[in-house]
Symmetry: none
Subunit: 200 residues, 4 copies
DNA sequence: AATGAATGAGGGTTCATTCAT
DNA sequence: AATGAATGAACCCTCATTCAT
């Protein structure tokens, strides 16, 4: 019973994407993955070196994309004059052009990378992204209201925003929809933060 | 070597709370729990029927509390006249009185219930809370801007808010701090949502 | 079906000693060991941390004994005036008093340590002993015939002597017999070496 | 990508020789062998029936050579008048002419046959050779000192001599050097044995 | 001649749970 | 109340071998 190589590889890859998204790296079972893919455990090792290599093959692209994003994160700030605009629709348009080029980053592998990489060499990815985001939020607090008494919110915000992005990707297959929701998400954060900072 | 019954039970209970919070139900190891508790695997079964019963003992209170909260969630709406207040400090004061009675709900067991109950009979708890919250956010959309083109954000908001509460509890031991951050969190959501809804 | 703890531990230990001696660490099968010991694989881990810990429990004593022997190996030289004695029976008596205190080193665990420790943290033991022995033989060559044209024999001698000791232990259970044969072995080496060195 | 048949066969053969010498039959990995040989597992079976057939192809010559040597071993004795010669240099010359014709026997395949054939139909080869050698040494004991109280040394000697030959071949590539060391080895044994026998 | 897909058995290890003591 | 011996299933992984292409 022989299949085309690529077909099995693809079957394993897809099956693994599902399993890893549902359970994360550690809880995911190779036995389950290969069963769903319609092959055997022994045969799996004709396609991937081991469990972690399979995981890496799924997540690697998302990881390097994320690293790039982090490296260029100072560019985000450059557009912060937005904050002064009164018309929210202008924000939406601006955000759209800003977001479009990084949209490829927000796919299922990104979700797996953030939520499911404990136990792998990518485990630090989430922390790294988190650190950058927290710093970013902290900078905003410093800028707009250095006397804001709850700076711990910067971390909460960071975790929440990343989690929100993950949820958007997870619950929506369509690229267009994802982009629109991400725009709303960012808008929501911008407005919310300005709101709680302004008042003190 | 015999200890007072209650002391052992407490040791197991505390140790389990840590283990379950760190790893969730499925990844948590009874061997690790009893080792930290200073007893043995065999003895464990003198105190709890099995792994899930131990989990239940930790999470049950938080669960029934959550169910109560959900049952009474129509009361939340009643105070939504808040939304019209201009002075954000008034909101903060109002929220404080609103939040205080439900603060006991937001403790470690709540975190475990939401994040770590996969594989137990409490697995649905998160979904239930989520459904109510989503409905709640949806109602706000309906009320303030029925033509808002991204109603999927209701679910994102719901997941995000719950996650935010979990993060606040997880990262802050002090009750006072927790409460303050939860107030900021809710404020943040209120302002953010109003912001993205208003404009259309 | 419950046995006395010590009985099972002993059964595993003995079974493992056989298996390790026959196959060495890497080829030895835990499944085979526990089957011979009359227990199950799962139960094995109630007695030993893992395969290597079991191996270590067998070999550790022999290893530290060997290290001591090596540390004190300069004492061997001090008695080399023996070499001048004409009467071989005097040698035998001298060797007996020399050998007696180190006899406990030459047991089955020593055999396993030398022959079967590849793949464990004891893998270097054989090399260490070898190096000391080779150096020892080389010193004799230097002393008695620095012009001997085949100094590579020092290494061959070293490997052969160690191997001979291992064989003696392996093929003879009785302590008395072992000691006598070891004496003959050393005598044999002494005479043989002097013989091939003298002539040049 | 097709190679000349013989070239592939040779590549496998050489690669296998290394692998079998390093690890022995059972621990040797066909996957490793074919990888080093630059071909694939599947293709391997176009050249050899299975793992053991490959092993046999390497070892067969050494085995039949050894069998011949054993069959003719009575000839060894015929030259034992050597033992009476006083001048060791004469022995060396005599041994050289005696050894030269059998030198082709002492090559890598011989090493593999002796050290690495466990798990194959050649497993008994070492025992066979050993038996003959032991008998040989025993005969010397009978001849020179029938009252020697440690006849078990015959077996030790046999094992040691074979092992020594293996070590010499293993550690020295050059044929000339091998031959010289083998001569020294035999000399060493002759002198050593005479030494320990004489005295009783 | 050559590839690599597929199988099935075996390797060491961890786990929750049961039960005799 | 407490121990730890015992089980059986599941985990990831490697292996020699077969076979369709």
């Amino acid at each position: 019973m022989q299949m085309k190589k690529e077909a099995v590889q693809q079957a394993i890859f897809q099956s693994a994407k599902n399993e890893f998204q549902e359970k994360g790296f550690e809880k995911a079972s190779l036995r389950q993955i290969v069963k769903t893919a319609g092959t055997t455990l022994g045969n799996f090792y004709n396609y991937y070196e081991n469990k972690e290599a399979l995981f890496a093959s799924i997540v690697e692209g998302a990881y390097t994309g994320m690293v790039q994003l982090i490296k260029n994160h100072h560019q985000w700030e450059s557009n912060d004059e937005l904050w002064d605009l009164k018309d929210i629709e202008v924000w939406r348009r601006e955000l759209k052009t800003l977001i479009t080029p990084v949209m490829p980053a927000f796919t299922t592998p990104f979700v797996i990378l953030i939520e499911g990489s404990e136990g792998t060499r990518f485990a630090h990815a989430k922390e790294d992204l988190l650190a950058v985001m927290e710093e970013h939020f902290m900078a905003h607090i410093e800028e707009f209201n250095p006397r804001y008494p709850n700076p711990q919110m910067a971390k909460v915000m960071a975790e929440q925003l990343i989690f929100g992005l993950v949820m958007i990707v997870k619950n929506n297959e369509d690229d267009e929809v994802r982009q629109q929701l991400i725009i709303e998400e960012i808008l929501f954060f911008a407005i919310g933060i300005m709101g709680i900072l302004k008042a003190f």
